[in-house]
């Protein structure tokens, strides 16, 4: 009887299943991660790897674009901004030779002004028109930062004029 007890005490015991449990949990984390990344990519990169079409590109693809909603990028031409009751109208220019007239709904952003690049969400009014109906204006400001009035004259006591 004692021999049987000693023998059962020495019988190898299977290790707890912690390693396989950890593996399944790790797989679970990876599966959730892949799902989240796919969702983010479908919102972002896959549908709009290039976030906008430039004026030149949009006019080059005019026939295929039709009245599809796109994001149109261009520089606001000076002297063309006109504020309306529902938003603003202005002309976007591409490389200088191509222009698109935009009528946008909603208040433009704070930095909206002439000679600034903007991205307008909207669509061409018709399949042949060069007028663009915008629903949202975004300003694409540059990466240059320069002090306002850098040549401001300083008085002898150090104050600026």
């Amino acid at each position: 009887m004692a021999d049987v007890e000693v023998e059962s005490a020495l019988t190898p015991v299977d290790p707890p299943a912690s390693k396989s449990r950890s593996t399944w949990r790790s797989i679970g984390v990876i599966v959730v991660l892949i799902g989240v990344v796919v969702v983010l990519l479908s919102q972002g990169l896959l549908s709009s790897l290039n976030y906008f079409e430039t004026v030149d590109q949009a006019l080059g693809q005019r026939t295929s674009l039709g009245t599809k909603v796109i994001r149109l990028e261009g520089v606001v031409e000076p002297g063309t901004i006109s504020r309306t009751n529902s938003g603003a109208s202005f002309t976007l220019t591409g490389s200088g030779t191509h222009h698109v007239f935009v009528t946008a709904q909603g208040s433009p952003p704070q930095l909206f002004q002439a000679n600034i690049p903007v991205v307008v969400v909207g669509h061409f009014v018709s399949t042949t028109s060069l007028s663009f109906a915008g629903t949202q204006i975004m300003v694409k400001h540059s990466s240059s930062y320069i002090a306002a009035h850098p040549n401001r004259v300083k008085a002898p006591n150090g104050t600026s004029r």
Binding site: S22, S26, G44, Y51, L111, S143, Y145
Partner: protein, 238 residues
Amino acid sequence: MIMLSRRLLGPVTLLLLALTFWLGLWITPPDAVQGNLVRLLYVHPPIAWVALYVSFGTATIASCLYLWKRTRSDVMDRIAHCAMEVSVVFIALTLITGSIWGRPTWGVWWAWDARLTSTAILGVFALAYLALRRANDDPTLRARRSAVFAILTAINVPIIHFSVQWWKTLHQGASVLTSNGTLNVHGSMLWTMLIGFVGFTLLFFWLLRYRYRLEVKRDLKVADAVVEALALRRREGV
């Protein structure tokens, strides 16, 4: 020398951050285009620098050192874990400060362009790293899997960096680390921003240091609990 630098880390960090905020809010001029909105320049890019390169980079390098047999140790695993935790905080701050800056400048809180989307994905990767660590009970297995994961997800960092060059994005291009080496920030705005870079980098190391100490104490507590449990079993005669 090391003791002195440890003691000075906190006060120097505080001093540089205070200097950044003072210069950024009161001394530097407004921008010619953005006006006073430019003052987020002294916060958002430094935080993004720490999130992408310093903290995620530290976690990746520590993971590489863990996987390399010559330098494999619990220290490297702890550093990788702690750096990734701090990285989550800085990535979240990058997205929040960027959003606060984007609303008045771009006109939107968020845009699904390549830069912003890939940064959000980096945040998801960092959270997944922490989840992966919680999913594994065995310390060696946990350390190894986490290290491999950190190295694989680090590929996202150069994607984020070059996204504004490879694709058309709403987010503007680089102002400091430009492709042709030019600096697009001028005068006092530049060196205030650089002081911010140094200040927030030191803040990361200060946070990492304290987080690491907490991790060591936690590991010691676990080890003590194991020793106590074994002693209890022996007293019970099992």
